[in-house]
């Protein structure tokens, strides 16, 4: 398959099951909601070492938030429910509770309930106040700028992590430009996050390593400087490869995000140095969800 001169590999991205949750952060204005959201989703690029993968789902209009203030929806993904709950609580406590004017609400009504502000309430040292409104429990925790309002729980749902595609370009600059265009479009799709810095990862990994202590290591088959030193996947004109990793609530969400992202890259086309689109395919070692590139773009 070739789109605008860009070859779409007959391969698939391999993804794995995760647990996910969403929270809504509101604040006095969008600036402070975003600051809090960025803090909460910081250092959360990969479960390999961060404990979770997190990102900003989307900016919310005041009419969409529970308290009618500007807000930002964030999503957190982890390998298991226990880890997810721990990450959520730690991040909510250190990054949202501490952020001026913030309030924190559940972003998923269904699913298994996991603590959001349920345990943060103890920061109130006995002065915290519970309010049950329309069947939802909120905690009002007195803080120095007024009150921190948080919903007690949010929903945990099954999700998918590790959807991805690789952009193979003639230069680093062209690969980056293409990925930026893809991310801009992909951020418009709800229920997905691209957890790496700016949504793009330049150090894609393969499963395993020659070093026994490492579970993952550089994806040497796609490293352009190793073209002559390893069993490469790259043709001579490829000088740079960048990857976009997608976590989403469902296969359909990831499909949509991959489709608009790959389309944005292909719109730049071969004329802008984009040669191929491939995907992280680890021979079935990584996970049960397979996103076939050509099927997605058909």
């Amino acid at each position: 398959m070739i789109i605008n001169g860009v070859s779409i590999d007959a391969t698939f991205a391999e993804a794995f099951p995760m647990k996910a949750t969403r929270a809504i952060i509101t604040a006095h204005n969008e600036k402070w909601a975003m600051i809090s959201a960025q803090a909460m989703t910081g250092f959360a690029t990969s479960v390999i070492a961060c404990g979770c993968e997190a990102g900003i789902d989307r900016v919310l209009d005041p009419s969409e938030t529970p308290d009618g203030r500007p807000g930002v929806a964030v999503m957190i993904f982890a390998m298991g429910g226990k880890g997810l709950a721990k990450q959520l609580e730690t991040r909510a406590g250190q990054c949202v509770l501490t952020s001026p004017t913030s309030a924190l609400f559940a972003g998923i009504d269904g699913g298994i309930r996991i603590p959001l502000g349920k345990n943060l309430r103890y920061f109130g040292d006995g002065f915290q106040i519970a309010k049950v409104i329309d069947g939802k429990r909120y905690w009002r925790i007195p803080v120095m700028d007024g009150e921190f309002l948080t919903e007690a729980t949010t929903g945990q749902v099954d999700a998918i992590g590790g959807g991805n595609f690789l952009v193979l370009a003639e230069s680093q600059e062209q690969a980056l430009t293409a990925c930026e265009a893809a991310i801009e479009e992909m951020r418009k799709i709800p229920n997905v996050i691209m957890p790496f810095p700016g949504g793009v990862v330049r150090s894609g990994s393969k499963v395993g390593s020659k070093y026994a202590s490492l579970g993952a290591s550089t994806n040497d088959a796609f490293c352009p400087t190793l073209k002559g030193a390893t069993k490469t996947e790259l043709s001579p004109e490829i000088e740079s490869v960048m990857e976009i990793v997608i976590d989403g609530l469902s296969q359909e969400d990831i499909n949509k995000a991959m489709r608009v992202g790959i389309q944005a890259v292909c719109d730049l086309g071969a004329a802008n140095g984009i040669k191929r689109i491939s995907a992280g395919n680890y021979g079935g070692k990584l996970g049960p969800f397979h996103f076939h590139l050509q099927e997605i773009m058909a």
Binding site: G68, F127, I129, A130, K131, D134, R140, G146
Partner: protein, 270 residues
């Protein structure tokens, strides 16, 4: 199916215990069976059809017409369905109610919503003392649900209130929120003396400045983030509480009762 309607034939001299006539108890009965039920009326036990004219068949939608303030225990432990009372109701309206809707177009007596657990109770007229309270000797009053009073309420509103919401469009009498453990009581009109007497936790939400005991301390004026969410939850009611123009998020906060736990609050619109 039309609503199962009980039209009172004549106003009784003695009080009538209406507790058998709730949706869940009538669900499996035919109209003939319902007519044959007996109701305690003073020291007598007349059949239902001796007191009421019965029409309709829908046991999940009960209407009591030409009602009287002598009809006690209407909707006792109601567990789903709807009861509409056209006229007044006596004491213990909706006592121990667990689910469903109960609406009264007239005035209501003592102990309405007493120890109510869940559901929605609407009173278009006035209501007597101990609305949402606990029975004498009991430690927990209303534990959940919502009560809306469009008129005035008597004394001891929400005595021992444990959870749930009481909304009063009119005035509330003395000792409003006395001994409450948690929950919310909102009063748009005036409140009487000894507001929040011995309250432990919970919120008294007021539109008019009350006369407060010395055991309530001023915490200043604040913009409180939970108030817009609280008022948004009232939008579904056919009430002044649904009027966005009357909602507020800035309030004077008084903490009390300091002679008790002191974790309660009186919030007054600013």
């Amino acid at each position: 199916m039309s609503a199962l309607t009980f039209t009172l034939k004549q106003h009784p001299d003695q009080r009538v215990d209406m507790s058998p006539l709730v949706c869940q108890k009538l669900a499996t009965l035919s109209v003939a069976d319902i007519a044959a039920l007996t109701l305690q009326n003073g020291k007598r036990s007349p059949r239902v059809d001796a007191l009421f004219t019965i029409t309709g068949t829908d046991t999940q939608n009960i209407v009591i017409k030409n009602s009287s303030d002598k009809l006690d225990f209407i909707g006792k432990e109601l567990d789903g369905g709807c009861i509409t009372v056209e006229g007044d109701a006596g004491a213990y309206l909706g006592i121990g109610m667990q689910a469903g809707d109960l609406k009264v177009t007239g005035n209501v007596g003592l102990y309405a919503a007493c120890e109510m657990k869940k559901g929605y109770l609407e009173i278009s007229g006035n209501v007597g003392d101990f609305l949402g309270g606990a029975l004498p000797g009991n430690k927990m009053g209303m534990k959940g649900g919502t009560v809306l009073v469009k008129g005035n309420a008597g004394e001891r509103v929400g005595d021992h209130l444990r959870r749930g919401t009481i909304l009063i469009e009119g005035d509330a009498g003395d000792y409003c929120g006395s001994r409450m453990t948690a929950g919310t009581i909102a009063v748009m009109g005036k409140t009487g003396r000894y507001l929040g007497y011995a309250m432990r936790r919970g919120t008294l939400l007021l539109w008019q400045q009350p006369t407060l005991s010395a055991s309530f301390n001023d915490c200043g004026t604040h913009t409180l983030g939970f108030l817009p969410i609280l008022f948004a939850s009232y939008k579904k009611f056919n009430s002044k509480f649904a009027d966005a123009g009357l909602a507020f998020n800035r309030a004077q906060r008084y903490a009390g009762d300091m002679s008790e736990m002191g974790k309660g609050e009186v919030l007054v619109k600013r």
